[in-house]
Amino acid sequence: MPSREDVVRVLVSRVTDPEMPMLTLQDLGVLRDVVVSDDRVVVTITPTYSGCPAMATMRDDLVHTLHENGFGDVQVKVSLHPAWTSDWITDGGRQALAAHGISAPADAPRYDGPVVLNLMPTRRVLDCPRCGADRVTLISEFGPTACKAMYRCTACLEPFDHFKEI
């Protein structure tokens, strides 16, 4: 029989991002810690962007899922350090993004030294997540959520989202 802790981990690992339901919080890398004691479950998550409005929903979805499955005392903690990076998106998460037409992020830039001012459009080497062609153009560096840029494939002409490196 699985332990309480195993049950909690499975339940928590299935909770998805409210904006991108093809990704679990674990895939996204925002799930930082799960501690199960006799009477309490403490889940720690970290925000992606400072103003990400999905954080409240993530917290409530975690609490809701655990409550529904009989875990009454649930606490969701916030961890601010270290800051979330798109590098924490798992391989499974990257495949899920691509399968749903969203191009996955490349390696995130480093921020521990001087931050270079970049006055040219951001250059990325991307393949279209729909047809695989490497001929894509940037439409907008900002997109429908804080974490995405908008691109268009010049081969199949379809627009697509790219998950930004941060």
Binding site: G51, L80, F142
Partner: protein
């Protein structure tokens, strides 16, 4: 991933079945839940709180101004970009005001019993103008897009320099907020810098407007680097930074953009203090009262309201 991608997989679970999820994610949460907010040894909690108010109010007021562009920007992409930048700054403001409230709860306005308003919202919506500690630079009305770009370039360059220093703050909460903010400010500055260059090298009209915008925002820019007594205290305690030391660094960076744009650094005199006081002392420009009236009116009308 367990399930094969299906056309409607994104919407699976949203229709039918359990509807209770719609009631979730709408109530207040503590943005610092579970974060250790104890005050480091040797740190003056009141000064730390005052400093977080300054940084938080800069972000809050700037965010509010940028959000006024929603549905008004020159095109959809820039509408989204400015809203996105406003959202980042609002998130930074929320964390910083929550940090201020945790460090010194006496700063938080008292609300009627039963009010569900969390401390950071009480600070944002229930303080009077004289209690705001933001620089005057972020307050004036937006003007046209070129004015906003000139202001955003200077503000994001300054704020990025501040937050980069704060990554080493002895206050671990402030340090963590800064480390996340650095990533965001980096692309805010890139965005403003690119548009600055584009407008400067665009048409005669775009260049004229950019020069006019820069001329308009410049007289308040000195205030960013004027050391306030609180900043001197937090600098001495290793939790904050004296902005005067950032003036050269920020100036060099702005000079790079000006020079690529073929625009001269303005030589306009700085706008003076009012009775020796500036935004950091709670003395604001005329535009601030109207901004706060719009930002605060709904919250103040319903101090015990539940959403």
């Amino acid at each position: 991933m367990s399930s094969a991608p299906e056309h409607d997989a994104d919407h699976h679970g949203l229709a039918g079945g359990d509807h209770s999820q719609w009631a979730f994610g709408t109530d207040f949460e503590d943005p610092l839940a579970g974060v250790d907010t104890s005050i480091p040894d040797g740190v003056d909690a009141h000064a730390l709180a005052q400093y977080c108010l300054m940084l938080g109010d800069d972000a809050l007021i700037s965010s509010h101004r940028l959000s006024e562009w929603a549905s008004n920007a020159p095109d959809l992409e820039d509408d989204i970009a400015l809203a996105n930048i406003a959202l980042d700054l609002l998130g930074q403001a929320r964390l910083l005001l929550a940090r201020a409230a945790a460090a010194d709860p006496t700063l938080v306005p008292l609300l009627p019993p039963g009010s569900p308003v969390p401390p950071e919202d009480a600070l944002a919506f229930f303080r009077d103008e004289s209690a705001f500690r933001n620089v005057r630079f972020v307050e004036p009305v937006n003007g046209d897009f070129a004015v906003t770009i000139a202001r955003l370039l200077i503000f994001s360059t300054y704020r990025l320099a501040v937050l980069q220093r704060l990554v080493c703050s002895a206050d671990t909460v402030l340090s963590a907020i800064a480390a996340k903010g650095v990533k965001e400010l980096a692309y805010h500055r890139d965005y403003a810098g690119r548009w600055f260059l584009t407008l400067a090298r665009g048409t005669e009209e775009s260049r004229r407007r950019l020069v006019a915008g820069l001329t308009l925002v410049w007289p308040l820019h000195d205030e960013l680097f004027r050391t306030h007594a609180v900043e001197r205290v937090v600098d001495g305690q290793g939790i904050g930074v004296d902005p005067a030391v950032l003036a050269d660094e920020v100036g060099v960076l702005l000079e790079q953009v000006f020079s690529l744009s073929g625009i001269d650094r303005p030589t306009l005199p700085a706008m003076g203090l009012v009775s020796g006081r500036s935004g950091r002392d709670g003395r604001h420009t005329e535009a601030m009262g109207r901004l706060l009236a719009e930002m605060q009116v709904v919250a103040r009308a319903h101090p015990t309201g539940r959403w």
